[in-house]
Symmetry: none
Subunit: 283 residues, 2 copies
């Protein structure tokens, strides 16, 4: 039985694994991929303190190098379910299972059904993060696909940078006053291009753009962990990253916005400290 | 008026400044020192993801280099008070003040516990600001309690105004040559008086004075911001780093454990995003 099972190979998972190792806890670190696809594909990251202007690839390398230099290994397996069984947690992985005293969920935000071309051009003209990549499109023509009114301030931010901003508001009560915002009351159906994204296709038309920002909320991880409290698409946690299930913690994008690498690594650290405290109190 | 005032030069402040800049907000970043003394003195940091095995000096350099590379400047001044005035916040700095729509407190935990009577007589004989209140004590008997050699020029200034100046140097390498300075090599234990401060008590004696100047870089959060909710010695914040005062946020060690650099930078990021959202909703 492990002290801590960490699920997810993104920045929150990396940070959790590093801290579990430093705190001398036995752990298993599981992920479907060795590093986060989202990190690798980020064009340029300006707000990871200490690593100015790194590409996603560079940050992913730095994180992987950090864990490797400490002898921390990741088990590349997909967890299909987490069940509480007699004071411990059982993680189902294919036809195997692992037991752990505590679980740290670093699940990221699963992209809702991607539109055709969305995954293909992610990092090559398509971005999920206004803060990260907005400045790359200064004075350019962009489209912003937004699924929720809560992200309107990010649309405003992008409009303040871009030359022309085609906004696809996929929600009600749209209110953007930026002069360079042009509303398109359609859903994108396809993203096209060659080496990079070139255009957005929607029913009845298409638009040539330099980039597309897709601002969408997360999908519930409640299917993975039965009974997990999910609010507004994110795992509900307290300041110590504890979920509603004693012994299960969560960190990173899955706990909510801002979807930022530095927030994720911070929470990975907090979650491990909380898990260690939880085990100390349980003994 | 600035959008965001950031107080504190440690990792949380660095992260907040980087994010304020990226999000195109106007900001002022204030700190008594250009970097955190605590970071510089850390021996080895193993859990800052992406920078394995850095010394404190190396991390401090990496953070400073990051802000410098983005043209982010720190204003090296001590904030002695934050006041809410008509929907904005006013920060007192010496005899100047700065206005901001939001404030992010990144105060660390070095703030020494105030001595008994210190908060009671603040503004009634006790002052944190030589420049602001020095002239009130022309020819009078004052005490100056100083925690850092960097403030010695303020002691000299006060000696040039006061009649008698009792100096309590709480640091090494004390050098004051003013003729009216009388050194007391003790720590003040209590401040006494009635409507106004009357005397300083220290181990083995007491001194009757008209005023006391306490020159320190870290002022306790509740003293700095009147009405701020502090629990267990930490600023109480929610998941978005919001304090009990709308428009004031906090990040880093001052919000509680774990006292870790990576947790601090994560919160600096979160606090700025929350401040931006707050301003968007306030408009």
């Amino acid at each position: 039985m492990y002290d801590i099972a960490i699920i997810g190979g993104g920045p929150a998972g990396v940070s959790a694994a590093i801290n579990a190792k430093i705190l001398n806890k036995s752990y298993i670190w599981l992920s479907s991929r060795p590093t986060s696809k989202k990190v690798e594909r980020a064009e340029l990251i300006k707000n990871y303190p200490g690593l100015p202007n790194v590409t996603g690839e560079q940050l992913a390398w730095a994180l992987m190098h950090h864990t490797e230099s400490m002898g921390i290994g990741l088990t590349e397996e997909v967890v299909t379910g987490v069940y509480e069984t007699g004071g411990k947690f059982t993680l189902l992985v294919g036809d195997k299972d692992y037991d752990a005293k505590t679980v740290i969920l670093c699940l990221g935000v699963e992209a809702a059904k991607p539109v055709e071309g969305e995954e293909e051009f992610l990092g090559r003209g398509i971005s999920y993060c206004a803060t990260c990549d907005g400045m790359l499109y200064k004075g350019k023509r962009i489209a912003v696909v937004c699924t929720d009114k809560r992200f309107e301030h990010e649309i405003e931010y992008l409009c303040s940078i871009a030359g022309t901003c085609y906004v696809f508001p996929l929600y009600r009560g749209y209110e953007i006053r930026a002069e360079n915002a042009k509303t398109v009351l359609k859903s994108p159906q396809k993203y096209e291009g060659d080496a990079r994204l070139k255009r957005v296709i929607y029913k009845g038309g298409s638009l040539d753009v330099d980039g597309v920002f897709i601002l969408k909320s997360a999908i519930s991880p409640a299917t993975l962990v039965h009974g997990l409290h999910v609010a507004d698409g994110h795992i509900a946690v307290d300041r110590g990253c504890a979920t509603n299930i004693a012994g299960i913690f969560a960190a990173g994008d899955c706990t909510g916005r801002p979807y930022q690498y530095v927030k994720a690594v911070g929470e990975g650290n907090v979650a491990v400290h909380s898990a260690v405290e939880y085990m100390a109190n349980a003994e």
